[in-house]
Every structure is written in C-alpha cells, then in structure tokens.
Amino acid sequence: MDEMEFERRARACTDRLFRVCYAILPERADREDAIQEALIKAWRRIGTLKDETAFEGWLTRIAINECKSALRCRRRRPEAELSESIPARDSIPDLALHDALMGLDLKLRMPVVLHYVEGFTLQQTAKLLRLPPGTAKRRLKQARVLLKAQLKEE
C-alpha cells in the first residue's frame, strides 16, 4: 500500500478512530497526540499488514493500543495539566447515552463501542481487545445491564 492509499483509507476511518479514541481518552489533547502517534506507527508498520482488506480493523487496533498507552502515561503523571478543552456537550446528540457510556468502566465500555457503535462482530471485537470471545460477550452483557439501568434512571 503506498502513502496515498494509506492516507485515503485512514481518512475514511476518521469518525471511527475519533469515537474509539474518545471512548478511551477523555482529554482532547491526549486524543490528538494519540491519533498522530497511531497513524505514524501504522504507516511505519504497513509492511506487516498481510491482508489489506483488514486495514480498518488493523488501524483501529493500533489506535486502541496508542490510546491505552497514553492513558497509562496520564495515570502515572497525576499532576498533568487539567484539561483546557471541555467538550461542547450540546454537540452530543444523545447526552444521556453519552454520559451512561462514559460512566462505564473502560473494560466494559470498549466492547460496547466496538460492537454496538462501530459494528464489529463479537469475534472481531474480542480480537481487537485481545479478549477470549466469552469474556467479550460477558462484558457486553454486563455493560448492557448497567446502561439500561442508568438510562432508566434518567
């Protein structure tokens, strides 16, 4: 895959990459850094992508890794700057769902984002999160119960 094709296909994933990064990193600046790193790493490793039809999932996996890595760094640097970029909440169409989803533990939130939001199959979701399929399924179920309860309250 050449540079132009890489860029074209990565651009086509913008919305998905944003949502995945958003689900992991609450800070706008962190997401900005993470996606930059993820794309550069992906390009650097493009030679390792055997099946180009799997590009979107492969890139999503790299973005997840990069965001988790950024999240770990943030946890280890607790005195890091407070976010100056509070998201405009009125730009979120379903605020109740947003808050309920973001209120979930990350390990429950990510299967929901990948499966329900991004449409990956259960098997693909498990693979992307490096989880046994049974675990991914269990977490999805648990997440749905919590979301349902949360949304009912509101």
């Binding site: 540079e3 890489f6 860029e7 990565a10 913008t14 990459l17 944003f18 949502r19 990064c21 958003y22 800070e27 706008r28 600046a29 997401r31 900005e32 850094d33 993470a34 996606i35 930059q36 790193e37 993820a38 794309l39 550069i40 650097r44 890595s69 770990r72 946890r75 280890r76 607790p78 005195e79 890091a80 700057e81 407070l82 976010s83 100056e84 970029s85 509070i86 998201p87 405009a88 909440r89 730009s91 979120i92 169409p93 379903d94 769902l97 947003h98 309920a100 989803l101 973001m102 209120g103 979930l104 533990d105 990350l106 390990k107 929901v112 329900y116 939001v117 749905r144 979301l147 349902k148």
Partner: protein
C-alpha cells in the same frame, strides 16, 4: 434497548483532525527515517559488539529523538512535530492553580480526585520519604523493588513512595466536596492492610549547583521492547547495554545529562487494583519492574553503581 449508538459521541473535533493531518504530513519524512533506521541498525550492531567488551558508555552518533529498549532509533517526531499549545484562558489558569493546590495539600497516603464535571486530575496515594533509611525499612520484604544506593558526594533531598491497592481491596471514598469554583474534590484511601508499595521516586543532590540525580523505580505492565521509547537529546548518544539481571538496559549520555533505564521481568506477576477516575477501579497485572535514573552531571557509571548489589 434501541439506541442510535453513534449519537453518544460528539462530532470529530478540530484537534483530532489536526493530529491526523500532522501524522499525514509526517509520512513523507517517515520514509527518510526508515532509511536512516536501517543504516543506524547496522552501526548499532557494531556498537553492541563494542559494548560486550566495554560494558558501558558506547554511543550511537546522530540518534536524535527516541530509542527503544534495544537502544534502537525509534523516531524523532517528538522533536520534529512540536505540538501547538493553545493559550489557556485566565479561568483555566485559575482552575489549574486551584487544582494543583488541592492535590498538593492532600494527606499522607490519601488519593485525591479533582474534577470539573467533565474531566479530572488525581494524585495517587503516596508517602513522603524522610530518607533512604526509611525507604529501606518500608521496602523490607518487597523483593520486586530494589533500593538504590546513594553515590558518594550526593545526599537525599526528597522522595515519595507510591502505593497500590491489593485486588481484594477497594478504594474507600472518605470525603466529597463541591467547591464554589465548580470543581468537586473526592478523597479516597486504600483500606488498612490493602496497600502495598508499587514504586518510589527519589531526588538526590550533589555539592555543585545543579548537580542532581533522580530515581524513578516502579512496577509496570509489560511493554513491548520495540514500543517503549526513551528520549535522546540532540547532543546525546544512546546505547543498549548488557546488564546482568536486567532484560533490557539502555544508557543515554551527553549534553543534558545521563540516563540509565533498565527493566526486568518479575518472578511472580503482581495484581493491583488501579484507581480509575470517574469509574470503577480496574485490575492490572504488573509483570515487570522498570528503573529509570537520570543525572544532570554524574556519569552513567555512577548511576549503574547505585544499583549494584541491589535486590
């Protein structure tokens, strides 16, 4: 539950698009870097051969950016792509200062979360150290964390011990307060007997002004040796070292000081409940210990001496 799941997210923000654009701009440069990486790799092989004879302090000329745990050139975008920092508003500055004050005033072994309702900053459970003797006492029986020695000519200046929570425990909320500024402050503690040391940091000072050594040692989840990057300044050299007892070791020397980083896999992984701001605590497994030492003036040999005869 019928939902349009995508409605849970805001539209892609400008910052995210900027991050993507910067990456795309860098792709052309990456081609050049890949070529450089190949040639540096060749030099590295020669350097490693040299290191086996001299043990320490060999270098890679021209590496500028970062190296991985193998001492290999890993990228220089950190220097080529400075991220523009938007000027914070006066209100943001005030909130930032207030947040720092609250975090700094937290009690011993108290974990504090300061939130503005959307995002938050927290300071972990720590204990200020009075000296190395206290550290040795607190780490007695903790085989995972080696105690660094103070090199001759240096004295202890400050230090903190970091605490994690055992998987059987849960962070206990002890106080919650909403401030007029809009910030909310939540204070937590790890139940007695459920805390354990996960790392520590030390600052040592020498007799000359500006002569200092910092030590950061802590348990870590496993990181891919290719993926972990350490910064190398424009007038510094980096090299991988072979150090008994370490899986990987990298030294960085030159203008700006010297650094020595090592990691080793733990005999037995350590499970820990990690505090997650705004969510349930998360279970993590620490599989290795990482040791990062940095000296403003002292050599890598001096740093290496601090770990000799360690646990």
């Amino acid at each position: 539950m019928k939902q349009n799941w995508k409605d849970a997210f805001p539209p892609v923000d400008a910052g995210f698009k900027d991050g993507m654009e910067r990456a795309f701009d860098a792709l052309g440069k990456e081609k050049e870097k890949m070529k450089r990486k190949v040639s540096l790799g060749f030099v590295l092989a020669a350097v490693l051969a040299l290191l086996s004879a001299t043990a320490l302090a060999a270098g890679l000329g021209g590496v500028f950016g970062s190296v991985n745990w193998f001492g290999e050139f890993a990228g220089d975008e950190a220097f080529e792509l400075p991220l523009p920092t938007p000027a914070p508003s006066a209100q943001a500055n005030e909130l930032f200062d207030l947040t720092q004050q609250i975090l700094d005033s937290r009690g011993e072994k108290e974990l504090v979360l300061v939130s503005d309702g959307v995002s938050g900053t927290y300071a972990p459970s720590t204990k200020a150290l009075a000296g190395l003797q206290e550290l040795e006492t607190l780490l007695a029986g903790n085989a995972a964390l080696p105690v660094a020695k103070i090199p001759e000519g240096y004295r202890f200046a400050s230090g903190s011990l970091f605490y994690g929570c055992r998987p059987e425990g849960q962070f206990e909320l002890t106080a919650s307060q909403a401030l007029p500024s809009g910030l909310s402050v939540s204070r937590y503690r790890i139940p007695s007997g459920m805390d354990f040391a996960t790392g520590y940091s030390l600052t040592l000072v020498g007799s000359d002004p500006g002569d200092s050594i910092t030590v950061d040692i802590g348990l870590s989840e496993h990181t891919d040796a290719q993926e972990y990057w350490m910064g190398v300044g424009p007038e510094q050299q980096a090299a991988a070292l072979e150090v008994d007892g370490a899986d990987n070791a990298v030294a960085v020397e030159g203008a700006g000081g010297s650094s020595l980083s090592l990691r080793r896999t733990l005999g037995t992984p350590v499970a820990c409940r990690e505090f997650l701001p705004g969510a349930q605590s998360d279970l993590v497994t620490y599989e290795e210990v990482q040791l990062h030492l940095h000296a403003s003036l002292a050599s890598v040999q001096t740093l290496a001496g601090m770990l000799e005869e360690g646990k």
